[in-house]
Amino acid sequence: MADKMDVEAAEQQLKSMAHSEQHYFNSYNHHGIHEEMLKDEVRTRSYMNAIVQNKHLFKDKVVLDVGCGTAILSMFAVKAGAKHVIGVDMSTIIFKAREIVKVNGMEDKITLIQGKMEEIELPFPKVDIIISEWMGYFLLYESMLDTVLYARDKYLEKDGLIFPDKATIFACGIEDGEYKDEKIGFWDNVYGFDYTPLKETALAEPLVDTVEIKAAVTDPAAVLTLDLYTCTTADLTFSIPFKLTSRRDDFIHALVAWFDIDFTACHKPVRFSTGPHTKYTHWKQTVFYLDQVLTVQQGEEINFNLDVKPNDKNRRDLDIKIDYHLETQDATRQAQGSCQYKMC
């Protein structure tokens, strides 16, 4: 009965939020997304290994699980010997998490709190370890990183640990003519009609999809590394130049970005990647189609600049700008441009 009232109160709270926020939290209320995340073996197994294989780090510690969802990470932490785990989630999925924790006999070890990290009060003044699966598409889209950083600054003991503690965004250039044609060229002729007004919109929307490794024309480059112990929310707005070196003579239609996640505190470091070279994850990769096609020769370097900032109106949306400059002796292949994208 009390639970039912909680659910209603939570739903009421969700209703009073701004539309975009509401949509964000509501989208996590559905099972489908949790099923997808749990069935993402790369993700779930990496967290499991990082936690369960490091009992020496978790034994008798107080752990905070930021954005706990179905509480799977909280339960891993209990298995690893944590003294107590606090799971926090805004979404009403937390009521399911309570049931799950109960049937797994861990309700005395795990406290689940429904609410916004910034607004709730924890039963412990400080925690020894923060665990969180906060990553979004392109690492930062709809990510909870700012909430994790808030929790770090407010609750983490001086020598406390963060799982994971390092995230790196990578990028490389890909040949993707066929699909670009299908996605972007589609609007040139729709059942015999000119639909080009929708083409710009399509170009401005980064595509979350899987990319085959054979499409990669350049070596990958690490663009941004975030150290979760030291970074601040200001670091989530950045403008970074980087170079990509072509591996072969080919065309570049798009830039593809992905991220790697590290748990460096582990006895045996645990790491997973969401790149095109490795196993599928539900994050897939993020493809940014360029307005031009770059014609590159083996060994050539292309200069890029990646500019990312949260949207002024809705901070969970991202405004992204990619500048490119291919400088060659061959004037016909010279190319320079700037593309603006919005993830929303």
Partner: protein
């Protein structure tokens, strides 16, 4: 003549100079003309009354002030050169002479007559003073010569009218862009308003909102969900859907030629453009979503703006530029046909705008149900939760028997095949004749029945889909769509004019997929010959209804085999 002094327009003439003397006193005129030499002040008689002025500019200023007649404005508008001005002056004088009124809306055709080159007043000082007028914006040299000058004038006039036509064209184009921009802006402002409304609602402690208001919010969200490009890409690339509309419209051009068509929920405008290309005289495209601005651009780029008019808003609220239409075309179908509840809008438009003999495209729909039995699906999607990385997550199953799932069910082998996932023939349970159906008919209870073609371990659920029919006639005997008509067979009977498609698992995949209603397992059923063995009958009733708290949602209830009953919602 060019040496004649320029006089500032604001220097007002002494009104007393010629007193009340008759302006048409020709003697006065001749005298003045003969006596004054170039440097002297001419007596300029007003075009519109009998006042006399020392120069043309002050006379014109008087006409503008006193009579509201802007000579220079008319000259500028008609781009009059010297001869044009002469004609204008004489035209005015002639009318005044005849006691007719003179207004500013004089057109070129009014004054373009040779007779107006002949002065109405001899030695009219106004005509002599025309050379002193400020130059036209595009300078026209009209002072030298007469013969070839006329040719030049004609040329310029011709060019002038061409330019004006072009200007009109550009104006129309600009107007259509302006509308698009305005709507985009409105939408932006609308967003802000909405955000403000929401935050103020939140400030009021977010107490329970009124029901009506809540339903409206739902609707807003519904429209918003169609504003993005993705969903339209999905729909346009759903070739089963888009091809069906295209084929019907293009194969039946005779039905569309010269007709007025209403497209409800036009989205990117594709159906409207099909109709326009098929020969419709006029298409009105209505959509409440912001995507309509894209439709407008698309229509413009395809040179169909003169045929298609876009109207943003709910069909129930907007004012259409016509009272009735010959054809209503709409792609209103949602998951399980009736989710999203757009059909009532089409029915509203049918009753409000469709001519008695008008056509509905599409014209009929029927809904199907088939039992499914698929142990693999159950293992992957239900049993899965019993052991997730060593944890019991059964709690996550909670909704699966209460919520309809939208998914693509793989085509099943024949029902009798031991590996079939659909072990019995599908059963059609509802036919919607769109000419007859009422909104109240969309909540209904209907019987269904089918017979197992093989033994099953368990009835795992029911699959729901629909078929769509596009009939070229509203004569129901000729349409001949029946409850159990299948899209394939019905269309095959008249492939020239009929078009139909299915969203069932046996057809090509569509973005509607199918609806899956999972049944709770019943242990005792496994050995019940009447419900799990070949020849066993599965029959009962299915009802569709609309949830009270979510006007665009759908509730489906199935009661079968006497004692089984379950309810699923789609939201």
């Amino acid at each position: 003549m060019s040496a004649a002094p320029n006089r500032p327009a604001d220097r007002y003439p002494p009104a007393s100079e010629s007193g009340d003397s008759d302006s048409r006193d020709e003697e006065d005129w001749s005298d003045a003309e003969e006596e004054d030499d170039e440097e002297e002040t001419l007596e300029v008689i007003s075009l519109l009354d009998d006042r006399v002025f020392p120069d043309v500019m002050s006379m014109l200023a008087h006409c503008k002030e006193k009579h509201g007649f802007d000579f220079l404005g008319v000259r500028q508008r008609l781009q009059l050169d010297f001869h044009g001005c002469v004609k204008l002056v004489n035209f005015i004088r002639q009318r005044v002479h005849e006691g007719l009124s003179v207004t500013e809306d004089i057109s070129w055709s009014d004054i373009d007559h040779e007779q107006y080159l002949k002065p109405v007043l001899d030695d009219d000082a106004v005509i002599l003073g025309l050379f002193d007028l400020p130059e036209l914006k595009p300078a026209v040299q009209g002072s030298n010569g007469n013969g070839d000058n006329a040719a030049l004038v004609d040329d310029l006039l011709k060019r002038n009218s061409e330019l004006q036509e072009e200007l009109a064209r550009v104006k129309t184009q600009f107007d259509s862009y302006r509308v698009a921009v305005q709507q985009t802006l409105d939408e932006r402002w609308g967003d802000v308003d909405q955000a403000e409304a929401e935050s103020s609602a939140a400030a009021k402690a977010g107490k329970g909102k009124e029901n009506g208001e809540k339903k409206e919010d739902d609707s807003q969200y519904y429209w918003d969900s169609y504003a993005g490009v993705d969903i339209h890409e999905t729909m346009l690339k759903d070739a089963v859907r888009t091809d069906a509309y295209r084929d019907f419209i293009y194969n039946n051009k005779h039905l569309f030629a010269g007709k007025t068509v209403l497209d409800i929920g036009c989205g990117t405008g594709i159906l409207s453009m099909f109709c326009a290309r098929a020969g419709a005289a006029k298409v009105i495209a209505v959509d409440a979503s912001a995507i309509i601005t894209k439709a407008q651009e698309n229509i413009f780029h395809n040179n169909l703006s003169s045929i298609i008019t876009c109207v943003r808003g709910r069909i129930e609220d907007v004012a259409l530029p016509v009272d009735e239409v010959d054809i209503i075309v709409s792609e209103w179908m949602g998951y399980c046909l009736l989710f999203e509840a757009m059909l009532p809008s089409v029915l509203f438009a049918r009753d409000r705008y469709l001519k008695p003999d008008g056509l509905l495209v599409p014209s009929h729909a029927n809904i199907w149900l088939a039992p499914v039995s698929d142990p693999q699906y159950v293992a992957d999607n239900i049993t899965f939760w019993r052991d997730v990385y060593g944890f019991d997550m059964r709690a996550m199953q909670a909704g699966i028997y209460d919520e309809a799932r939208v998914l693509t069910w793989p085509a099943s082998s024949a029902p009798a095949d031991p590996n079939s996932t659909i072990p019995a023939a599908p059963s059609a349970f509802k036919l919607l004749d769109l000419y007859q159906v009422q909104t109240s008919d969309l909540s209904f209870t209907a019987p269904f029945a089918t017979t197992l073609a093989r033994d099953i371990d368990a009835l795992d659920g029911y699959l729901i889909w629909f078929d769509m029919f596009f009939s070229p006639t509203r004569n129901s005997a000729q349409s001949a769509v029946e409850l159990a008509s299948t899209a394939e067979a019905w269309a095959a009977a008249d492939p020239q004019n009929r078009v139909a498609f299915t969203t069932g698992p046996h057809g090509r995949e569509t973005h509607w997929k199918q609806g899956l209603l999972l049944c709770k397992p019943k242990a005792e059923e496994a050995n019940n010959a009447s419900t799990s063995k070949v020849g066993g009958e599965i029959k009962g009733e299915i009802s569709f209804s609309i949830p009270e708290d979510h006007a665009r949602g759908l509730i489906i209830k199935v009661a079968w085999n006497g004692n089984r009953s379950q309810t699923w919602s789609l939201r």
